[in-house]
Amino acid sequence: MSDTLITVIAIFLAAVLMFIFPLMTVSNTQDEISQVAVQSIVAEFVNNAASKGKITTSDYEAFTTKLYATGNTYDIQLEHKIMTTNPNKGEGNKAGESLYYSEFTSEIEQALGETGEYKLKKGDYIIATVKNTNTTIATQLKNFLYSIVGKDTYTIAASSSALVVNAGY
């Protein structure tokens, strides 16, 4: 009887060792690689937009294509903080001191759809935040042990911002 018990335990352990653990390790590594790649993709997009002074449709499409090439779906949020040039607010305007108002993803995408370009000016900030929306394999495996519930859970996230120094026009 104890023989059988040990055998069952041994088979169970062998299955875990030979299948589950490698799978978990590899999918974790895969997630970490995606995280690094996404971080650099977002930083590149933002720095590109800041130095060119505008966001073009081709830039944006290349950005989304590269993101999806990592094998996950993402929720992209862009924010453009525009520096106000209201002359009543004192003499001159200083980057970092004036009032900022923001335009978000839907307006930016709308402008890209209409004209193909979204222009930025000096002193503005362009911020991009990316989070993944699907459940990766690593997350599914972890859910066997413990599960994280909630609407906005994500495993891969990256955020980057830049100050625009060249106007796009």
Binding site: I6, A10, L13, L17, A95, Y125, S161, L163, V165
Partner: protein
């Protein structure tokens, strides 16, 4: 036992251990990854901060406000840019951005002649009462009533139509409701004594700290003020020197040489022009537009020049034009006049009298009167233009006066550019002394250029400050040693000063947090980079990453600002006969560096010459007089950066001076000096040699004025040799307001019109007359 048992037990023991190890290693790797990530983000945020500062000062600077305020504003805005940038990159948004500052113990801004530190400190909380008196919240203020004092609205309240300040007397209780009830407080709930004030802990930009050092020599104290390059100022009881330390000999070749006489003529400076709009008076309905030449005065403010009226003016922030350099009795509280007189020619080595006469502004007095005359006492003649071709440039003269007095001083000018002043006679009743400070810099039009003066400056400095009385600088090697020693001392002074202040800031910061922080040591390369131009050092500490807390700093140097010219802003050429005809970058190996003929010019001076054959030559504007010499770009450093080789065997440089051949270094400072003094010498200001005050007497009328009394005289400082400028105010006489005609005498005399030139006759009084 069977083998399977052993294996299973073995596996059951090993798996948890392996899991724990894996987790721990993962954590280590994660810490390093996050640390690199934060390092990169800190670097990017600091670069953005410097970009914002450059944008604010070079492109969007407002030329109207005072320089000190402008600087602080630009710095505070760039600190904002830093926190915005850093919090955006770390994914912190919304109101949590202000919390980023809790992790920033200090930000150091290294400027040209001093530094700023932005750091948290204890700031007292204040209110202002109705009289404008600033009062502090008393730390131990108590409430003696039972009411809840959470709803105190303000410190000044109106009770039955009367304003009571400083002591809130009514308090509203939310539970009880109803009207506010009277409450008595301890009398000093608000205090004017800052020692009892309640303080809050927040980030402020501290005041500007200059790079100074004080030395005592023979019971005299001298203060030395350093800057990032070689400009040094020394203040003391009996000395006031400022200048560039320069150790070269080739500044003279900057002019155009007359091939017959061999004389070198200094070139004209270019004029800066701007198109501006202003109103002459605030009630004018429309703006006047015009293009005017402008200069920057010693405070960095813009002064525009109106060539028709021959007057300088400034434009206030409301767009109102404000003419300068005329003295009006009804405007001046006392006769404080600051005149920048340039290029006055003094006889060399001779004694002369400088007569300065002042009268006070007394409403009952006739007029105020200021006279400058220079007498050559040895000749007995009045003509101070008797020179030997040596120009003495008077840098500034500031004087003030109270009370009625007349002072005459005898100035003895020495040939090393300093002067000795002796008062000859003074009138009793003088209540205060006149301060006159003049800096003489001798500019020799001959071959030696600025060399003589700068060597004397160094001689004086070395003797008095370094205490080496016997130092006799005769050779270039000795000069170079002094140069080096002083550079090293300067760097030590700057670095020590910054470190001391930083330690204090970080001690304050760590006293307020739960963990002890210590100042990270900046390496020598970091200091070398930081002191090479305007830069900023940021510290970021306290964020928990993995197994430890983050603690790092970042140094970013500006490359594009209008405060500091570095060695890369010049091109270097060889002006000897063995020249290779090319212009080089700093430190290029392919120049004939052993000879002492390296001269530097600013990059703007290299213009494209005409097509010489098939090629475009970049020709230097100030060539040596012969048209066929043009300078080509050096292939190894300018055209093709790959092949740039630095000078071998660098012979000069310690700490933060970039190691390079000494001839390059001295060429760079020669160019800096030349640019500074040429501008000053050759602008329109240099054509003045004296200001003659002309009194316009209204005769039997009086001048139109906004003051209570009616001025009978009006004084205008006329420039010798120029056309007369007449008063713009009308004269009232018998109910008429007219612009009168001006005669040299009350009756008779000659009429002075627009076409007459001002003569050197001392005070002139012109009388008004008009046709009935």
């Amino acid at each position: 036992m069977k083998l399977q048992y052993l294996i299973v037990i073995f596996i059951i023991i090993i798996i948890p251990i392996a899991l724990i190890f894996a987790y721990y290693l993962n954590l280590q790797a994660e810490t390093i990854r996050i640390q690199t990530d934060y390092d990169e983000k800190l670097q990017e945020a600091t670069s953005e901060m410097m970009e914002a500062y450059e944008l604010n000062t070079t492109e969007w600077s407002s030329g109207f406000s005072a320089l000190a305020n402008e600087k602080r504003r630009a710095i505070l805005s760039s600190v904002n840019a830093f926190t915005d940038g850093l919090s955006n990159k770390l994914g912190v948004g919304g109101t949590a951005k202000e919390n980023i500052l809790n992790y920033v113990p200090a930000i150091v801004y290294i400027m040209y002649d001093g530094y700023y530190i932005y750091t948290p400190t204890y700031v007292p909380e204040t209110i202002t009462d109705e009289d404008g008196l600033q009062m502090f919240y008393y730390e131990d203020g108590e409430v003696t009533s039972e009411n809840d004092y959470r709803f105190i609205t303000k410190a000044t309240q109106t009770i039955e139509g009367k304003t009571v300040s400083g002591k809130p007397m009514y308090v509203y209780d939310s539970e009880k409701g109803g009207a506010p009830e009277a409450v008595t407080y301890k009398e000093d709930y608000f205090t004017t004594n800052v020692d009892y004030a309640k303080t809050t802990y927040k980030h402020v930009l501290k005041t500007f700290v200059p790079y100074t050092k004080t030395k005592e020599i023979n019971d005299n104290y001298y203060t030395i003020n350093y800057t990032l390059d070689n400009y040094i100022r020394i203040y003391g009881d009996d000395v006031q020197l400022e200048g560039y330390m320069y150790a070269g000999s080739e500044v003279s070749k900057s002019g155009i040489k007359n091939s017959e006489t061999g004389e070198t003529i200094l070139p004209d400076s270019y004029e800066l022009k701007e198109y501006v709009a202003f109103k002459n008076k605030s009630e004018d309905p429309e703006y006047t537009y015009g293009e005017y030449i402008y200069i920057h005065n010693s405070n960095g403010e813009k002064r525009y020049y109106d060539s028709e009226k021959d007057v300088f003016f400034s434009i206030s922030s409301n767009g109102i034009r404000n003419d300068l350099k005329t003295v009006r009795t009804e405007d001046a509280e006392n006769t404080i006049m600051s005149a920048k007189v340039k290029s006055t020619e003094f006889p060399e080595g001779k004694e002369f009298d400088l007569t300065e006469e002042y009268y006070s502004r007394d409403p009952n007095a006739e007029y105020t009167k200021i006279v400058h005359e220079w007498h050559n006492t040895s000749d007995g003649t009045d003509d101070a233009k008797d020179t030997k071709g040596v120009h003495y440039v008077l840098l500034n003269r500031v004087y003030s006066d109270e009370g009625t007095k007349r002072n005459r001083y005898r100035y003895t000018l020495k040939d090393n550019g300093t002067y000795v002043r002796m008062a000859i006679n003074s009138v009793e009743g003088a209540t205060s002394s006149i301060e006159v400070s003049m800096n003489f810099i001798k500019m020799d039009r001959g071959v030696n250029g600025f060399l003589t003066e700068m060597r004397d400056f160094e001689r004086q400095f070395v003797r008095q400050i370094l205490g080496k009385n016997d130092y006799n600088i005769t050779t270039k090697a000795e000069l170079k040693n002094i140069f080096d020693e002083i550079s090293q001392e300067k760097n030590e002074c700057i670095i020590n000063s910054i470190n001391e202040n930083l330690k204090l800031s970080i001690a304050n910061y760590s006293a307020n947090s739960k963990i002890d922080y210590s100042l990270p040591e900046l390496s020598e390369e970091d200091w070398e980079q930081a002191l090479s131009n305007i830069s900023v050092i940021t510290f970021f500490q306290g964020v928990k990453i993995g197994l430890k807390t983050y603690n790092n700093y970042c140094v970013v140097t500006s490359r594009n600002n209008n405060e500091y010219a570095s060695e890369d802003d010049f091109y270097y050429i060889d002006t000897s006969e063995k020249t290779d005809g090319c212009y080089h970058q700093y430190g290029c190996d392919h120049i004939n560096k052993d000879e002492n003929h390296i001269v530097a010019y600013k990059k703007l001076d290299f213009l494209i010459a005409e097509n010489m054959g098939d090629k475009n030559y970049y020709k230097h504007q100030y060539n040596n007089g012969t048209e066929t010499v043009a300078y080509e770009p050096c292939y190894y450093c300018v055209l093709n950066g790959n092949k740039f080789t630095k000078v071998e065997n660098p012979t000069f440089g310690r700490n933060v001076e970039k190691k390079c051949n000494f001839n390059y270094v001295s060429a760079k400072y020669g160019a800096l000096i030349r640019e500074k003094y040429i501008q000053m010498y050759r602008t329109r200001l240099s054509d003045w040699d004296t200001i003659i005050l002309v009194v316009f007497d209204a005769n039997e009328g009086y001048f139109d004025s906004t003051w209570d009394y009616q001025p009978k005289t009006y004084i205008i400082g006329e420039i010798l040799g120029q056309k007369y400028v007449f008063p713009t105010r009308k004269v009232m006489y018998n109910g008429h307001r007219v612009y009168p005609k001006w005669y040299t005498d009350k009756d008779g005399g000659k009429e002075i019109t627009d076409t007459d030139r001002v003569k050197r006759n001392g005070i002139q009084t012109l009388y008004a007359r008009w046709d009935e």
